[in-house]
């Protein structure tokens, strides 16, 4: 910090003549750092500090309140044992398998649907200005609203099934939200509905940023439309994929409230995600050590996925 300030002063000798101005220029140089300092300090304490604290707690025997005596990895041993209890499924087993199903389907469907819609909207169609916000607005709703709306819509006694029965299609049957084996897919449906429009907007911005000359050149070379998108457009959209993936991944991992609002945990807890597990154990069951351990495992999983990806993506842009 000080070296930067000093070099700037030595490089501009006229400041030396007026000491008042020198203080001001020092201040100006330091201003960005000063302004950033509080938020930097806040994230060091409230993100990284609490990560360390959670790791510490996971090795204690904390119940209702934190206790600070290290008692070993009992919480991890329990989680490890629960990882393989599939029949009947332990709550932890349900949570992590659900996370796998939900995370994979949610991210891939959102990406595919978002890209598809963006490509369609990019065909210079009429009324684009009206269509775009229609797809985008679900993102403005909170997960709770999305969850409650879809809960009513999917409820066989209230929503879709009931309506179709009244219209005369009485053999129609759709009770996934009440079915322990399918309830997690209803969470995917609601999640995709909410986020795919936003992903579409991101891709659309990316598509608009592609140089028309490249497209023309490809067309002159005889590329079909499919080839054009497959070989040129999609590879050019790679940075958008990265941003979209990061947005979706964190939405997927924190979608606690969607599960609660949509399914209140599902029949027999069959819609739990690890975040539900963590909250349930830490705050409702007073097993803070187990809750902390599950949070640490969630963090490690995310790190294991995101870090190599970020590393490979960012390394390819050398200075």
């Amino acid at each position: 910090m000080s070296t930067v300030a000093e070099t700037s002063i030595t490089l501009t000798p006229e400041h030396d003549a007026r000491p008042g101005a020198s203080v001001r220029s020092r201040l100006q140089d330091a201003l960005p750092k000063l302004v950033l300092a509080p938020s930097f300090a806040a994230s060091v304490v409230f993100v990284y500090g609490f990560i360390l604290w959670t790791i510490y707690l996971s090795f204690t025997n904390s119940k209702t309140f934190p206790s600070y005596a290290i008692t070993g990895p009992r919480a991890y041993q329990r989680l490890w044992r629960w990882t393989f209890e599939s029949d009947p499924p332990s709550s932890w087993y349900t949570s992590i398998t659900n996370m796998g199903i939900f995370g994979f389907l949610y991210i891939s469907i959102c990406l595919a649907l978002g890209l598809f819609l963006a490509i369609l909207l990019d065909q210079k169609i009429r009324g684009e200005g009206m269509l775009r916000p229609i797809y985008l607005y679900p993102m403005a709703l909170s997960f709770i609203v999305t969850g409650v709306a879809w809960k009513w819509f999917l409820d066989p006694g209230l929503g879709l099934e009931q309506t179709l029965h009244q219209w005369g299609w009485t053999s129609f049957h759709f009770d996934w939200i009440k079915n322990k084996d399918f309830v997690i897919y209803t969470v995917v449906i609601a999640g995709v509905w909410q986020a795919s429009g936003f992903i579409m907007a991101m891709f659309l911005a990316g598509l608009r940023g592609i140089d028309g000359e490249i497209m023309k050149a490809a067309q002159i070379d005889g590329a079909t439309t499919f080839q054009l998108y497959r070989r040129i457009v999609i590879p050019l959209l790679r940075p958008i994929f990265l941003s979209a993936l990061i947005v979706l991944a964190h939405l997927a991992i924190k979608s606690y409230d969607l599960v609660v609002a949509l399914t209140s945990g599902g029949p027999g807890g069959s819609a739990w995600l690890p975040s539900n597990f963590m909250y349930e154990y830490t705050f409702k069951r007073n097993e803070m050590a187990v809750g902390s351990a599950s949070a640490v495992i969630m963090l490690m999983t995310i790190t294991a996925i995101i870090v190599p990806y970020l590393y490979s993506e960012l390394r390819e842009k050398p200075r």
Binding site: P88, S91, K178, P267, K284, R285
Partner: protein
């Protein structure tokens, strides 16, 4: 810049301190009784305190429910900023008392004669280490049937006295084309019903051994297997759409006559009252068949925190008003529960309330007043939730047989201890 910030903080906290020093005539209360009837019932307490010159201040809770309130309380206590009192349930009181943050009301308790009038089973949660730390507000009991009388008359049913009678009654309803049993498929509702099933199947002694003492032999006994089989029988009488339904919607099904009966705690009566239904003419309240004479209870308590000296007077006033006979009667008439002391006159209560009060008194004297495991009065939360998991997984088919359910129950409870 930083200095300015510091000065600002110091000033702000100075103001806060000053405010605290002046506000001794104030009760800071953390609770989640915000909806219609409950809020009205609590208003009685506010007015009682206002007469004595104490102002009432709700501690705001984002989110509203009991879970959010407990999370807020945990944060307040961790920060050393205790409310005067907080609505609390069962083992939470004992957890906080063990952490040494609860106050001591013993003097008031002796003066007011609480130890004689409050049932001994309740004192297990309001007295810690010989000291009164909480004021019980009410006693709910969970082993009730709530029946729509019109439907009952239509199918020609009579009060079921045994579990087999109950099944026969449900069959009649089924034959008449009504949904026999209104159930909300959430784990606590299923487990609340199972509390009654176990008490009915195994009797009071068995219930106490299994669900209060957590005796392993009882938990894995054939009687427990039979209880699970009985639960499975009951579940065949619910409608296919029951999963995830809220308890009050299930009650509404009975109120509207879509369903015959709900097995639920006496807070369900609040819903009947709100719908202007009269016990005896519109709906019937019976004890769960085979559990007459026993009461499986839970209770709302006001936990009293160890507040500074200058706030103690307000706290004692709150506790005294809470357990006063007039408030106990006025509050519980509205809430649907029964008073937490057995010497309150039952004149203002309806038929179900009168029966509830008589049952509580008899159960207290006969030693058949048991904490509900589903409601967190039988065992600490870790165990209670492990129990709810097993019951719910059994109801929804993740656990397929009663043999497996019993094995799971034993290992889950062992794990959570």
């Amino acid at each position: 810049m930083l200095r300015k910030l510091l000065i600002g903080t110091a000033l702000a906290s100075g103001v806060a301190f000053a405010a605290h020093a002046e506000d001794v005539k104030e009760v800071q209360m953390l609770h989640w009784w915000t909806s219609g009837g409950e809020a009205a019932a609590l208003n009685v307490l506010k007015q009682d305190l206002a007469k004595e010159g104490f102002a009432w201040k709700d501690v705001p809770v984002a989110g509203g429910g009991g879970d959010a309130a407990m999370t807020a309380l945990k944060a307040m206590v961790a920060a050393g900023n205790y409310p005067t009192a907080s609505q609390m349930l069962g083992y939470t009181v004992l957890d906080y008392a063990a952490a040494g943050v609860m106050g001591d009301l013993t003097e008031t308790a002796i003066k007011e004669g609480w130890d004689k009038s409050v049932p001994a089973a309740l004192q297990k949660f309001s007295v810690y280490d010989g000291k009164w730390v909480a004021a019980p507000v009410n006693v709910h009991s969970v082993n009730w049937l709530w029946i729509n009388k019109a439907v009952m008359d239509k199918i020609g049913g009579t009060e079921p006295k045994t579990f087999d009678d109950f099944i026969a009654l449900l069959d009649k309803a089924k034959a008449a084309g009504v949904i026999p049993l209104a159930l909300g498929g959430q784990n606590w509702q299923e487990a609340t019903m199972f509390d009654s099933v176990v008490l009915s199947t195994g009797g009071p002694e068995f219930y106490k051994k299994a669900f209060n003492d957590l005796d392993e032999e009882s938990l894995k006994s054939d009687t427990m297997k039979k209880s699970f089989d009985n639960l499975a029988k009951l579940v065949t009488y619910v409608d296919p759409n029951f999963s995830g339904r809220d308890w009050n919607l299930a009650t509404a099904m009975v109120i509207k006559g879509d369903a015959l009966v709900q097995v639920m705690g006496d807070w369900a009566k609040g819903e009947f009252n709100a719908a202007k239904k009269v016990p005896g003419t519109d709906f019937l309240c019976y004890r769960f068949p085979g559990t007459d004479g026993s009461v499986v209870y839970n209770s709302d308590m006001f936990g009293m925190f160890n507040v500074p000296e200058d706030r103690k007077a307000a706290q004692i006033a709150l506790a005294t008003a809470t357990l006063s006979k007039s408030f106990q009667s006025a509050f519980n008439v509205v809430k649907g529960s029964v008073p937490a002391r057995t010497d309150v006159p039952d004149t203002d209560f309806d038929a179900c309330g009168k029966k509830g009060m008589a049952d509580l008194k008899a159960a207290n004297e006969g030693g058949t007043l048991f904490g509900s495991l589903a409601q967190g009065y039988g065992a600490p939360p870790a165990v209670a939730n492990a129990y709810k998991d097993v019951v719910s997984k059994f109801v929804h088919g993740q656990i397929k047989t009663s043999d497996e359910a019993v094995t799971q129950l034993v290992s889950a409870i062992e794990d959570a201890k």
